[in-house]
Structure formats: C-alpha cells, structure tokens
Amino acid sequence: MKENLWQQGLDLMLYGMGTVFVFLTLLVICTILMSTLLRRFLGEEPEPVVARVDTASAESVSPKTLAVIQAAIHAHRAKHQK
C-alpha cells in the first residue's frame, strides 16, 4: 500500500510535470506562429489599444453621467463668467 502511494505520487509528478511542460511548449510554438502569421498576412495594427479604449469609454459611460458632467461644466462656466 505504501509502495503503491509512492508509485502513485511519482507517477503524478512525472506525468503531471511532463504534461505541463509539453503543453506550454506547444503553446509557445503556436503563439509565436500565430503572431508571426497575423503580423505577416494581416499587417501591423497602428495603435490598436488607444482606439479600443476610446470606443470602450465612449460606449460605457452612461448618458446620465455625461449629462451630469455637462451640467457641472455649465454650472462652472456660469459661475466663472460672473
């Protein structure tokens, strides 16, 4: 039974660690391949992140927040112009 437990533990370690390495190695290879292919065949994307953030923020700020901000700006301007 105890030998059995050792055997099981060693099995787990060897095949487990092996799988982790094989899988992540495969992932490294595929990722590099993917990036290369994407960049070669579809070209570079100019500043994709910035574009993305803009859309997102424009999209998810609710009209209410915008209304409040505009109101605040107006209020401020009114005060300021006095």
């Binding site: 437990l5 533990g9 799988t19 993917m34």
Partner: protein, 437 residues
C-alpha cells in the same frame, strides 16, 4: 423552569466545544489579517466570517440535515438513520456519523429525505456550499472573471516566459511527493487524492485550489483554501529571500528591453488558440481553461463589452461572496482542527518556496541558451499569485537597479503561471480519478 433550563441549554456557551472556540479565534485572526494587514481581503473576509458562522455551537449552519439530526440526537431518528445506513438501531451517533460520511450519493439522498421527513434542515452555509462549490460552479465563474480581467499583452510580447510559468509549477508536484513522504513515514495520513489537492496550493491560484480540492479532497478544502490565500498574501515575505539567494547581484541588475506593443487581433486569437490546444491535447483541463479563455475572449473581442463588464464586476463579486462563505463552511472545528491541517500549512509554504526557486532557476537556464537575456527575478512571478508576485519581482529588481522596471515583464510569467496551474489541475484530477476507480 424547564423553559429557562432549555434556553440555557440552547445557548452557545452551554453547547460550545473547545474546538469551536479555538476555530472562532482562528477565524478572528484571519479577519484581522485580512482587514488590518490586507491579506487577500476579498476572499479572507468572507472565509473568516463564514468560518465563525460555521462554528456557532448548536446552530449547525455548515451541516446537512442528516448531521443536524444526528446532533439533535432523537433516538427514533437515530435508529431510522442507522437502518438506512445499514447499521443496527443500537449503534451510537458517532458510528452513524462515520457510516454517513463514507456512504455514497444514494445513501446520502435517502437519509437526507428521512431527515427532512423528521423536520431537520440543511444549514444555510451547507446550502451555499452545495450550490457554489460542490457543483464546481463558483470557482469556474471566478475563473471566467479572472480571464476577463487578464491582459495577455505582456505574455504575447514575449511568449518564452511561458516556460517560467511552467517551471514554477514544479512546486505543485514536489509538494505531492512531500505529502507522500509524510504519509509513507506514518507522520500524516494523506491519500493520493489528498496529496494532489495539497500540492495545488503551490499553484498559488485560489479558484484553482478550491476547484481541485472540491473534487479530490472536500474535507481538506478549508485548510487548503486558507493556506493558498494566506501564502498568496505572504508572497512579499516568502519570495524575496529565495530570489536573492539564487541570483547574483549582476543577474538582478539585468535590464530588459521594452516589450513590443501587441495588436488587438493577437489578443483575440490567443484565447481561441489556447482553447483549441486544450481541446486537442488536454481535455481534462477544459472546464478551468475553457471558462478562463471565454472570459478573456469576452474582454478582448470588443463586441460584448457589456457582458465583459458584468463578468468583471457584479458577477465575480457576487460569486466571490458566496464562494468565500462556502469555503468558510469547511472551517468547522471537526474538519479543520486536525493534525492534517498542520501538514497542509507546512507543505503549502514548501510548495510556494519550491515554485519560486524553480521559476528563478528556469530563467537562469534560459539565459544559458538565449542571446536576449532575461532578468531571473521575473522567474519567481511564474507561481501566479497575480499580481502580487509580479510586483515582488519589480520591487526586488529595483533594489538592485533603480532603473529596472520589471513589472510588465513579470506579468508574462505571472499569467503563464495561471495557465500552468490550470493545466496541472486538469492532469491531476484526471489521473487521480483514474487511480481511485
């Protein structure tokens, strides 16, 4: 008079066992660490609070209806339960309890119906646990949320850092051997399933640890989750000495070139690629990595921002609350106050240490074969513990060289560690289930 006596006997003070008292103190300590010391408060506040609730004497909040019936001790009900569990009517409540623990789903269903018939109910936390953890749903939903919060940019800019995330998982498997050693020498009594569940602490990833232990060793879940989250909070104390011991001053000073910007398309394709690889190579990791990739795809694809938003906020918050309370239900004294818990805590910290060391050593090994040197300090981030471990890499790096900004570089192995431990979790669940059948 009988009523006054009844009230006193119903009070917590009268019914409290020493174990419950100790557990309440331990849970208060967890809350203190979470609130004052900032130890992973999002999880440890619900876990600690749930732990107190689970140890309220007489309330049975963490118990199923059958155990509440056993605790009440009505002789007729005991006899009925004994019969359903194949015991004689004269067996003690303790015997019935043990028989219930080792019974299968069918016997559980029958006895639960019998207890309901006799007017006993599942405790609140037991219900939460059944829905949130026993089904596997809550850890998987959290994993989806983590996916929706993860930016794979740094990993995509430097995919080789995946090797660091792989190496650091050795902490998991070394710990399994440690648990086997303790068990083989009669110091503890861990089964192979227990050993695997304990090992996953070394993955330094909370939901993964909870998911694995709910499948392989539900009784140890409380201790394993507490160990995992506590050590994740202690990463700034555990890792730096190991990192310094294994690296030279010169190595720590290595500056890394700025990462290239990663396009949106790569970020969309990556979760798909990962999913396909899982499907082809490692179906056992499909639940964890599938939900992780799904969350990340929602984040990156740009057309379901409202779903991604909800996943990152309402949904993950709601799930965290119930996950935490459910984990707390496993801090009941009779399960937690066990020599095994000491073993788990001990093995857990060893796992963190070995994982850290292997990450650093792997980085040094890679430097032997690669022209583009990497600073070995980012290897320690491979254990996961996102984003704490990456911050530790950055901090130790700046101590050696104030111009060294390792944070983004360390995020690569950091998220690689999440993938790595999910892979390890999949393999282990599958292999251990095979061993037990």
């Amino acid at each position: 008079m009988g009523n006054l006596l009844g009230l006193w006997q119903a009070s917590g003070l009268y019914q409290m066992h020493v174990g419950q008292f100790v557990m309440i103190l331990i849970c208060l300590l967890l809350l203190f660490l979470a609130i004052r010391k900032g130890f992973e408060p999002l999880l440890l506040v619900p876990i600690g609070f749930g732990g107190i609730l689970a140890n309220i004497p007489g309330a049975g909040l963490a118990l199923p209806a059958v155990e509440n019936a056993l605790a009440a001790g009505d002789p007729t009900v005991l006899a009925g339960l004994a019969e359903l569990l194949g015991l004689g009517a004269w067996d003690s409540a303790k015997d019935i309890y043990n028989a219930y623990q080792s019974a299968g789903p069918a016997a559980h269903k029958l006895t639960a119906l019998y207890a309901a018939e006799a007017g006993y109910h599942n405790g609140m936390l037991y219900n939460f646990y059944s829905v949130a953890i026993a089904t596997g749903a809550a850890p998987l939903i959290i994993f989806m949320g983590v996916g929706a919060m993860t930016d794979f940019g740094p990993l995509l800019a430097n995919p080789k850092t995946l090797f660091l995330g792989a190496a650091a998982q050795f902490g998991i498997f070394a710990t399994i051997i440690g648990a086997v050693f303790l068990s083989a020498n009669g110091i503890m009594d861990f089964s192979i399933a227990d050993a695997a569940a304990i090992g996953i602490i070394g993955g330094a990833d909370g939901p993964t640890a909870i998911y694995v232990s709910s499948k392989l060793a539900p009784d140890l879940l409380g201790a394993i989750a507490v160990a995992a989250y506590s050590y994740m909070a202690l990463v700034p104390l555990i890792q730096p000495p190991i990192m310094r011991a294994l690296t030279s001053e010169k190595e720590r000073k290595i500056e890394m070139t700025q990462l290239r910007t990663v396009g949106r398309r790569e970020k969309i394709f990556f979760p798909m690629l990962l999913l396909i690889l899982v499907a082809l190579v490692l179906p056992d990791a499909a639940p964890l990595l599938g939900m992780f990739c799904f969350g990340n795809l929602m984040r990156e694809c740009g057309v379901v921002d409202r779903l991604s938003e909800t996943t990152q906020h309402s949904l993950i918050n709601i799930t965290t609350i119930f996950l935490g309370l459910s984990v707390g239900s496993k801090l009941a004294a009779d399960k937690f106050l066990d020599p095994k818990t000491m073993g788990i805590l001990l093995l857990g910290i060893v796992a963190f240490g070995i994982g850290t060391a292997m990450g650093v050593l792997m980085a040094k090994l890679m430097n032997k074969f690669s022209k583009q040197k990497i600073n070995p300090l980012i290897g320690s981030a491979g254990v996961s513990a996102v984003p704490m471990a990456a911050r530790v890499s950055n901090k130790v790096g700046q101590e050696a060289n104030p111009h060294n900004f390792l944070l983004m570089h360390a995020m690569g192995p950091n998220v690689a560690g999440v993938i790595g431990s999910a892979v390890a979790a999949g393999v282990m669940i599958s292999m251990v289930t095979g061993m037990l059948q």
